[in-house]
């Protein structure tokens, strides 16, 4: 019967396909060294060209096959975590200083002190320390980022404020005048998806406080300094000095408050976000200043570093790769193309552009923050309490005290 033959043929095809599929092997890169890199260089075409060049240069010099895979920022924790479990992660990967302690805590990295020691140029201690955990280096510095204060000059002028505020007191003084025009003075994104390094922590540090105690065993943010930082925000909110949805807002390209004119200044903006603002409202309306000052002047800046994974199949070749990538030739060009700052002791701004110069002035004030294996979990525990304070559900003292209770319980349980 016609149907029978057709179906029989189909069944054969299906089973053959199934059999073939179970035998089919993946076309993996096999023995090549793998590096996972992220879009540090903004322009995709430029990024590809640069890393192809690096790949070719390394292969020429060492004769080892290298695969540089460019990954998206989005979903990188999921991808790296899943790859580590499946056993097909890279040998070397780019990690930020606030991620390294977590991976070290997961015993996923190997120390790289030897690579840093063998580098031809000196790294400033602050940069190297930011990538250290328990006295051992786990990241070879590749670049530094810095954040600082960005102002919308026009809004301040229109509100009749002649001088841009540089201290907390000046910000608080400017708030009512701007609020009278319906403009919040300070942009603040309080969503729990935001890293506190760019929102609350810089203010905490400016007040002279810190997240952890020196030995990292207990929290230290429920201190008078912490309360003062949170109170600064809460008071501003009461004066309409923060965006209306500050407690739950995310910082995003699409509705960035400074781009839409929804805030007059931001206290810890990255350079790329600043450029976005300039492109939107015009360079003449934007001023880039030093980080704000309360008790001290400090802001967040993280070195990006290359880490060696414990599961690396060829650690010796990987170390050679690290040394090659950390060499001035590669790093300087990377920084020139990406607009980030080089990690060297004597750091000149990568390009002569005004924005770079302004950001470079904030470099001496950067801190990579309180690194700790549980730093991310602590942020996850602290952020909702900060939201509660901003929403007026709790006083700053109570919010921080309750958060400290949860954090100390976590740190004490030794997980």
């Amino acid at each position: 019967m016609r149907l029978h033959r057709r179906t029989r043929a189909a069944a054969l095809a299906v089973s053959a396909l199934t059999a073939a599929s179970l035998v089919a092997c993946g076309t993996g890169s096999g023995d090549a060294l793998t590096l996972w890199m992220y879009p540090v260089i903004a322009d995709q075409a430029q990024s590809r060209d640069f890393w192809h060049k690096v790949e070719a240069g390394f292969e020429r010099e060492y004769g080892v096959d290298l695969d540089i895979e460019l990954q998206p920022w989005e979903g990188r924790q999921e991808k790296l975590g899943a790859a580590l479990m499946a056993g097909n992660g890279p040998d070397v990967v780019l990690l930020q200083s606030d991620m390294i302690p977590q991976y070290v805590g997961e015993k996923a990295l190997r120390p790289v002190d030897d690579v840093i020691a063998g580098s031809s140029r000196a790294f400033p201690p602050a940069v190297v320390d930011a990538l250290k955990v328990s006295g051992q280096s786990y990241g070879v510095p590749l670049y530094r980022t810095v954040t600082t204060t960005v102002y919308n000059r026009k809004l301040f002028a229109e509100a009749g404020i002649p001088e841009l505020p540089r201290t907390w007191d000046e910000v608080e003084a400017a708030a009512p005048k701007l609020a009278a025009h319906g403009i919040p003075v300070l942009d603040y994104s309080g969503s729990t998806e935001e890293t506190l390094n760019l929102t609350f922590y810089p203010l905490l540090w400016q007040a002279g406080g810190s997240v952890f105690t020196a030995d990292g065993k207990k929290s230290a943010f429920a201190s008078p300094e912490g309360v003062s930082a949170l109170r600064f925000l809460v008071d501003l909110k009461a004066m309409n000095g923060l965006p209306k949805d500050a407690a739950t807002k995310r910082s995003g390209l699409a509705d960035d408050a400074m781009v839409t004119g929804g805030a007059a200044m931001a206290h810890a903006m990255t350079e790329s976000a600043a450029r976005n603002v300039i492109a939107a409202i015009g360079a003449q309306n934007v001023a880039i200043g030093l980080p704000l000052q309360d008790k001290t002047r400090v802001t967040f800046g993280t070195p990006g570093g290359l880490s060696l994974l414990r599961g690396a199949k060829n650690p010796d070749a990987a170390r050679k790769l690290l040394a090659y990538l950390a060499a001035p030739a590669v790093v300087d060009e990377l920084c020139a193309e990406s607009g980030f700052f080089p990690p060297w002791a004597e750091s000149a701004p990568p390009s002569a552009d005004e924005v770079d110069k302004d950001f470079a002035q904030a470099l001496p004030f950067t801190s990579a923050g309180d690194n700790h294996p549980q730093a991310r979990k602590v942020m996850g525990l602290l952020a909702p309490h900060l939201q509660a304070a901003l929403l007026g559900q709790k006083t700053p003292e109570r919010a921080l005290a309750e958060a400290a209770g949860e954090v100390d319980a976590l740190l004490g349980s030794g997980r």
Binding site: T18, M85, G89, A108, E194, K244, A254, G380, A388, L391
Partner: protein, 271 residues
């Protein structure tokens, strides 16, 4: 002989599904259960910890509140989406022309980027302040979720309405039955299989709501929208507490299974 042939036929028809599910659903599920019994560090060591993860979850206020939050979300979302989907399906059926056009328009949210929807809805909801109020954020998210997802349920129900016996409806109309009576006694029974599907699938989906929360509120404010599926992501991929994340996943699975089986019984009982 026929019994054997019958069994063989059943097996052959089921084979692709059985193989696929065995290898790519049940096996990973076993893996997840296994993970939930360990303290796993990706790329590192792991040790067997038995039910420790479950025990600490039972005392974890964050987990318990995420359970309550998820139940709250489901309670708002499922009725909402069923009503909207059924309503639009009925309207589509009642409209004499332009069905294709309307259908395409109603389908558009499915094809709109989630990130953009998030931004837009945040803007729409800003004057109401719902996204900042712990009591209103779940209904707000349910509205956004229903807006984004009702196209699917609507099309299923529409196909179900089309399957309703037209002659019965005609006869009822001739007999003078009102719109409501026609709906209740002819359409609704005919829709039962489709409705069952929509209710079960949307419930299962609602229990696992993640995307809308991730894009719009990040679990806030003050964890008011911190659902169970979001907790799995948070614990598993932000803190790398994979054992606990797997345990939450298993717990969620058990809860949803219980709810779905209850729904099935409810549908079977109703005439």
């Amino acid at each position: 002989m026929t019994r054997l042939r019958e069994s063989l036929t059943v097996l052959v028809f089921l084979l692709p599904v059985l193989v696929l599910f065995a290898m790519f659903r049940f096996l990973p599920m076993l893996g997840a259960v296994g993970l939930s019994l360990t303290d796993y560090h990706p790329g590192g060591d792991w040790r067997f910890t038995g039910t420790e993860n479950y025990r600490s979850l039972a005392q974890d206020e964050i987990f318990l509140s995420s359970l309550r939050t998820t139940l709250g979300y489901v309670a708002v979302y499922v009725p909402l989406i069923v009503v909207v989907a059924l309503g639009t399906a009925l309207l589509l059926h009642a409209v004499p022309w332009g069905r294709g056009l309307f259908r395409a328009a109603l389908f558009a949210p499915y094809a709109t980027s989630l990130v953009l929807s998030g931004v837009l809805w945040r803007w729409v909801l800003e004057p109401t302040g719902f996204l900042e109020q712990p009591s209103m954020v779940l209904p707000a998210l349910a509205v956004v979720g229903a807006w984004k997802g009702f196209g699917y349920a609507m099309l299923i129900l529409f196909a179900g309405i089309r399957n309703a016996p037209a002659d019965c409806l005609e006869a009822a109309k001739v007999d003078g039955a009102s719109v409501w009576q026609r709906f209740r006694h002819v359409l609704l029974p005919a829709l039962r299989p489709a409705l069952f599907f929509v209710v079960v699938v949307e419930t299962v989906g609602a229990f696992q709501v993640f995307d809308t929360v991730y894009v719009m509120t990040g679990g806030g404010p003050v964890r008011a929208s911190y659902t169970l599926a979001y907790a799995v992501y948070d614990y598993g991929f932000r803190y790398f507490d994979i054992g606990s994340a797997a345990a939450i996943g298993v717990a969620l699975w058990a809860i949803v299974l219980l709810v779905s089986l209850t729904q099935r019984r409810a549908f079977d009982r109703n005439p």
